[in-house]
Amino acid sequence: MTTTPSTLPDGGPRTHYLNAAYGLKSWLLTRDHKRIALLYLVSVSVFFALGGFMAVLIRMELATPEGDFFQPDIYNRLFTMHGVLMIFFFLIPGIPAVLGNFLIPLMIGAKDLAFPRINLFSWYLYSIGGALTLWALLHGGVDTGWTFYTPLSTNYVSTSVLTVGVGIFIAGFSSILTGLNFVVTIHRMRAPGMTWFRLPLFVWGHYATSIIQILGTPVVAITILLIAAERVFHVGVFDPKIGGDPVLFQHLFWFYSHPAVYIMILPAMGVISELVATFSRKPIFGYKFVAFASIGIAVLGFLVWGHHMFVAGQSIYAGVIFSVLSMLVAVPSAIKVFNWTATLYKGSISWDTPMLYALGFIGLFTIGGLTGVMLATLGIDAHVHDTYFIIAHFHYIMVGGAIMGYLGGLHYWWPKITGRMYPVFWSKLSALVVFVGFNVTFFPQFILGYLGMPRRYHSYPPEFQVLNVMSSAGATVLGLGYLMPLIYFTWSMRYGPKAPANPWGATGLEWQTTSPPPVLNFETPPVVTTAPYTYPVAANAPEVRSV
């Protein structure tokens, strides 16, 4: 593989997407998917920081059993805004809009996404939605929990439900348009020879994600619209006074919001598949199984929403159906975990930073997934519903899974995105600190929940204090772990050593163009002739015996 020099033979600097044009206008009016990805990177980082700041305040309050820092109503706003910002403005757009946006055209050998203007438009929608939500935050915020359950959200609270609802509605549109763009791009823009089974698993993961974004988001959009209408007109479809059923809201809400969890985790799984293959120097074990497992998770994800409503007044028979269906999701998820493990087996593993994050993901996702099976069991869920067990479970999936995948992906593709390397020592340290900090924060919450500590309270019985202090201390460590990449990534953009085209010796199409890529991604249009992950057997790799 030839490495392209960063300067042309005549000595002038090479033109790439970052130095092709300068100035604010060249960014805010760009249609280049790579630049739009960077716009998203900045915006989601802002929301991650804000959401994280609220998490810090929450953990601060919970360090002691008494309510010392915040009144209960302020505490309600804190955890609601933490959830709203993290879910709708960080986790859902996170990997697809940043890494997916940047990489899908590169990975399939296209010049851009199918609809570049819509891509930019969706960033603006996201920003408008985010700005509205922040505006609401400054004007009292919301205190319903991020789930906006009726009739609390429609009849009782007097906080900014309407503004935040509209903000989420607009951001949802952005999510739909991103998914639509990906689907059309993957169907129509593949380079010659890039057949479906030569697509990197990252692309399969995003295809599955897009299915959910397209089919699920509209349902939550209409649901939020109905909530908004009910607040404005004081009468609506969820209003019990005229025979409405508030539980219907929960059905419609979770029809999207459960699959939304897979919007967060499927792209992360795609990232992990790339990392595991690259850093074990082996093709992914059972490529087709992993690819179809992504689609399987997306489809099954639509059949399980009722497990959020086991104790909400849903019929017990529906509960049984949803319980069984929920357990089915474990099958494709387990396929993925087993296939990653099988890929590692006898691989030539190198312990680079992205791989550390990937291994962290596999462990934490497994814990999060297995506790998910526990919660799918009706009897156990009735016991631990609305306790910290739930909090711990979904943070293992969303933070231990989605954010580990996001950070692993950022560390892996950072040289491609910026053309710079980051410091090895600090980045490895950050992976370690994040892993340790995460577990210290959230593992105690499993125990707390099992012992019966309910969620959403700012005070608790004193016997829970030891575990809560542990959790708060872990959160501090976790916060430090997240600060480190922020610092060294920013540093590397200016001072980092120049990255070669393919620093990890990976096989994907995105590594065959220069770092950073030219404006139209490839100097010569690529033609694909091989399956993904065709790693040559390294000289020092142990001999692979046939089993």
Binding site: V184, I214, V219, I222, V235, K241, I242
Partner: protein
């Protein structure tokens, strides 16, 4: 945009790829619309099964003649739209433009009739809310029927308004010859959107106007 292929965006290799992408994108968007209205239809299905008598009573308050008239108007507008797209396909921009204006006129007629119907509901205090009044049993559940009636037809009307504005823009572009047989994708996409709005009405009409008429 290269000079020898006008109307072909830089990141596409051929007109075929560009058109296929546009068609696919528009249909994917329409699928999101199906699910968007679907949430409302789910609520409708639940409450109609729960309160059949009230829904019958509510439906009888609607004017079936106006509903019929509007159905015919909307289907006719779909015909003019389909013919306009055919005009773009065969390179007759002026013809397409005239047909598009006709589509707008028909769409406006639909909205005006809808406005009269809404006004009638207002006069009879059938607007949900504190002033709602209905003589007869289950007046609360009849109110639910009207909540759904206004939510569904209101959302449909909103789509119509967006559609009329979009058709107006396309009519102007078509008149100035912006669409060629190679690239009339925007016209085609607008057509798909308009037909979709028609489709929604095809379901709304029997579900709202024709309950238990015998």
């Amino acid at each position: 945009m290269s000079e020898d292929s006008p109307g072909l965006a830089h990141h596409f290799d051929s007109y075929e790829q560009q058109k296929d992408s546009a068609t696919l994108g528009m249909w994917t968007f329409l699928v999101t619309e199906i699910l968007f209205f679907g949430g409302l239809f789910a609520a409708y299905g639940l409450y109609r099964t729960s309160y059949p008598a009230a829904f019958r009573a509510g439906s009888h308050e609607l004017d079936i003649t106006l509903g019929c008239f509007n159905t015919v108007v909307l289907i006719a507008s779909s015909l003019t739209m389909a013919l306009a797209v055919r005009g773009g396909q065969t390179g007759r921009g002026k013809l397409a433009s005239v047909l598009l204006v006709l589509t707008m006129v028909l769409g406006t007629v639909f909205l005006v009739v809808k406005g009269f119907e809404y006004h009638d509901k207002f006069v009879h205090h059938h607007i949900p809310g504190p002033s709602f009044h209905f003589e007869g049993p289950e007046s609360n559940h009849v109110q639910m029927f009207f909540v759904l009636y206004f939510a569904m037809t209101g959302l449909h009307a909103l789509h119509m308004i967006i559609g009329i504005l979009l058709v107006g823009y396309v009519a102007k572009r078509a008149w100035s010859g912006a669409y060629t047989p190679q690239n009339y994708n925007f016209l085609e996409g607008t057509g798909l959107y308009w037909h979709f709005v028609d489709l929604v009405w095809i379901f709304l009409f029997p579900l709202l106007y024709l309950i238990g008429r015998h």
